[in-house]
């Protein structure tokens, strides 16, 4: 089998620091034999969650736009990498908009109870968070983690790791960072290897 890896770029800014870091991760995953695809969230036609809770009745979202086929693809992937720069101490509105739309999956699990991920399923599905921040503060990513954790939990993915680099203003961008791109590439290779190892023939 080929490990399916989907990378979601939540930055409004094309080919910026975060997307470049995601590219390095996907390059590593590709090199290790993964089947890699990248989604640019800002080019997707979708609206944020309306909070209508209609999904609490049937487990279906009533907003029929391009977010729904993307969720189908994420659910079929073995590995998902969600990437967002830090804006105002959190993920971008675009990525948060997508995460909020996963409410219908959450409703299937916890309200309708038609969906259940076994521990084995979760162990075989790995999620990574990729992020960059201009600020040097050590805590600059902390407020992003709870929403990312919630997203991976909802979607049945184990929160495998973070690929994060702060202080972009000092490094003059991700290409000036001494280690981040290499580590992202290595992480891509590593996670595909780990997932492959979970499927002995």
């Amino acid at each position: 089998m080929s490990v399916k890896v989907i990378g979601i770029s939540g930055s409004p800014h094309r080919h910026g620091n975060t997307e470049t870091l995601l590219d390095a991760f996907l390059d590593g995953a590709d090199h290790a034999g993964g089947a890699v695809e990248k989604v640019i969230l800002k080019d997707l036609d979708f609206t944020p969650c309306r909070g209508c809770n209609a999904c609490h009745k049937e487990g279906e979202c009533i907003v029929k736009d391009e977010a729904l086929p993307l969720f189908d693809r994420i659910l079929l992937a073995d590995c998902v990498a969600v990437a967002s720069p830090i804006y105002s101490m959190g993920i971008t509105a675009e990525l948060k908009g997508l995460i909020d739309r996963s409410q219908y999956i959450w409703a299937r699990k916890f309200i309708i109870r038609t969906l259940y991920f076994t521990d084995d399923h979760i162990r075989r599905h790995k999620g990574l968070f990729i992020s960059t921040a201009g600020l040097s503060w050590d805590n600059v990513f902390d407020a992003a983690f709870p929403a990312i954790t919630a997203f991976f939990n909802t979607m049945g993915f184990e929160y495998y790791d973070n690929i994060i680099a702060n202080d972009m203003d000092r490094w003059k961008g991700i290409r000036g960072h001494p280690t981040a791109l290499r580590e992202a590439r290595n992480k891509g290779e590593e996670v595909v290897g780990v997932i492959t190892g979970l499927y002995p023939d």
């Binding site: 909070g51 809770n53 105002s88 959190g90 971008t92 997203f151």
Partner: protein, 204 residues
């Protein structure tokens, strides 16, 4: 001059729990003398997300022309700024996050261009209030939202010690907050305290 209160209803759901909490605060403020309230419903306000272009770092204004044009001036004029927004998926709802991110223009003004956001004589004479609701009853459910809310207020010259919080967890379905034992009373008390506080500061 009346006390100017600018309030954002940040939820995509109209008249839900966080907006009800806001309406309780605003109704109590309205009962005080000389208070002018401006409530902005964010889903109707046409505020697009930040594009991350950083143009505001040189232009001192945003290159996007949308609902923020009006909100920008209201933010500067207001004495009390209130943000009400629910927690979705352990963070502030994306609609409110879009507004917060558009405050980058104030951040650029303050920290990059080193220009005043409000005139020096108004410093310390602005108060912020964050109102939130969450379906989950976990104590930590608001923690992911607070750092972004602090950014929202800090860049518009509302100091950390001048932000008040009222966050109610365990309310999910529309109207659930009506059954909360203390939320309305807490909201009304907060409203009276904030107006009393700003009135003293503005008189100084």
């Amino acid at each position: 001059m009346p006390i100017k209160v600018l309030a954002f209803a940040g939820s995509p759901r109209r008249h839900g729990n966080s907006e009800t909490l806001l309406d309780w605060v605003l109704a109590a403020m309205q009962k005080e003398d000389d208070v002018a309230i401006d409530k902005v419903v964010l889903v109707d306000a046409n505020v697009n997300p930040c594009r991350g272009c950083n143009a505001c770092e040189t232009l001192n204004k945003c290159i996007q022309r949308d609902g923020m044009d009006v909100i920008h001036d209201k933010i500067i004029d207001a004495d009390v700024i209130i943000l009400a927004a629910p927690i979705f998926c352990m963070g502030i709802c994306s609609q409110a996050k879009a507004l917060i991110d558009r405050f980058q223009v104030f951040r650029s003004r303050k920290f990059v261009l080193k220009l005043p956001v409000v005139p020096p004589e108004r410093k310390g004479k602005r108060l912020g209030v964050f109102l939130s609701t969450a379906g989950q009853s976990w104590d930590h459910v608001f923690q992911g939202a607070i750092p972004s809310v602090k950014c929202f207020f800090h860049v518009i010259d509302v100091r950390d010690r001048d932000i008040q919080y009222l966050m109610i967890n365990g309310v999910d379905e529309k109207g659930a907050i009506m059954k909360h034992p203390t939320a309305q009373e807490d909201a009304e008390r907060l409203a009276r305290e904030v107006i009393a506080d700003i009135r003293v500061r503005l008189a100084e």
